[in-house]
Symmetry: C2
Subunit: 216 residues, 2 copies
Amino acid sequence: MRQFVIVGLGRFGKKVAITLSQAGMPVVAIDKDPRKVEAISDKVAYAIRADATDQKALSTLGLTDADVAIISLGDLLEASVLATIILKEFGIPTIIVKGISPEHGRILKLVGATTVVFPEEDMALRVAQKIISPNILEHIPLLPGYSIVEFLTPKSFQGKTLLGLNLRRNYGVEVLLIKRGNEVKMIPSAMDRINENDTLVIMGTDEDIRRIHLVE
Amino acid sequence: MRQFVIVGLGRFGKKVAITLSQAGMPVVAIDKDPRKVEAISDKVAYAIRADATDQKALSTLGLTDADVAIISLGDLLEASVLATIILKEFGIPTIIVKGISPEHGRILKLVGATTVVFPEEDMALRVAQKIISPNILEHIPLLPGYSIVEFLTPKSFQGKTLLGLNLRRNYGVEVLLIKRGNEVKMIPSAMDRINENDTLVIMGTDEDIRRIHLVE
Ligand SMILES: Nc1ncnc2c1ncn2[C@@H]1O[C@H](COP(=O)(O)OP(=O)(O)OP(=O)(O)O)[C@@H](O)[C@H]1O
Ligand SMILES: Nc1ncnc2c1ncn2[C@@H]1O[C@H](COP(=O)(O)OP(=O)(O)OP(=O)(O)O)[C@@H](O)[C@H]1O
């Protein structure tokens, strides 16, 4: 069974530690703030107070067996870089770090971070995209430039059949399914008529999807 | 054209302001820190230095025409609650606020926030889920308990046909498409054989998806 070490118990680190623990994973949770350690101690396998920049202190904790480390030490650039270096030297194969900025992310990758995450920028992008395209409910990128989207039926499509709309010819998209209330109709036929509150799950290039989402 | 006001230019607010502006939207960006205002001033329509808890100061800015307000004022519970109340009184119809905790989120909703977002917890959940199920690449929830997932082909499926695997009978899932390199095969037929590096886009209940993702 894989073992996990979470360094830094801010909102991000704490949520990762608790979610992994709830899934039955063995988690070592580390923070220098005793209140944070105390608050999580009944929710994870091991909650330890330690300074993540103290190589000696960390070396007593048996972290070399960990498979994945997740580091999130707030706005302290130096602390997260140091912690990454230390855990890399312990031989932990996967190190995920919450980054402060793209530049910080580049430094982290140079010193051994496998992945750098940017929760605020990521959510900001999704909020902005939802504002820009409110009728796109979900989005799976399949390939560069090619996606599946779930998309609210525009008024001008309502009551029409898929044959009549000919989305493949007019927009270049394929309709994978129609969602109607609690029903999902997979691979709808040409004679299926689209109702007012249907959502369509379609597949196409990002350009086709952009054109179709502008339809009123 | 819709108008936007962004209050608080931390990493989240700044990214929302810039992304909306890049999409051609008129954005008013507000922060009390003159350096933050200065840094964004060439990227948005209006960058204004103001205290978001100062009702008088905000009332001079013509914000009543805004359609959407996005508030992210850091860990200051009182500041974001006050700013929400003020912008609600200006009649702004949609108010999105970056929350500090679920309790804070409840208060914000009571005083007029339309949506409360939690970027750190959201990303933490996604990082943890990706660790728990590394072969699930993407996930679109369609209905409560029913999703589309993109899923790496397990070794035991490789070389078999869809008919041979009978995923519908054995796991209850439908295969929407097979992705192979840069090719996407929609609605594959029973005789299609699955290759080693294919990914499958399947649809099913969350329970079925959980069972199939555990397959080795
Ligand atoms: N040297 C260190 N060793 C161990 N823990 C540390 C060290 N420096 C900071 N921390 C801890 O890291 C955590 C960082 O959380 P903080 O809320 O400051 O920032 P954050 O990573 O932006 O958090 P969030 O996930 O809430 O956005 C705190 O709990 C703090 O006690
Ligand atoms: N009363 C206020 N009026 C206007 N701006 C404010 C007020 N209080 C705080 N701010 C601004 O809000 C921003 C909050 O960003 P900060 O980085 O502290 O927190 P955050 O919301 O957690 O940010 P991030 O999006 O980076 O996670 C800062 O730029 C700060 O100057």
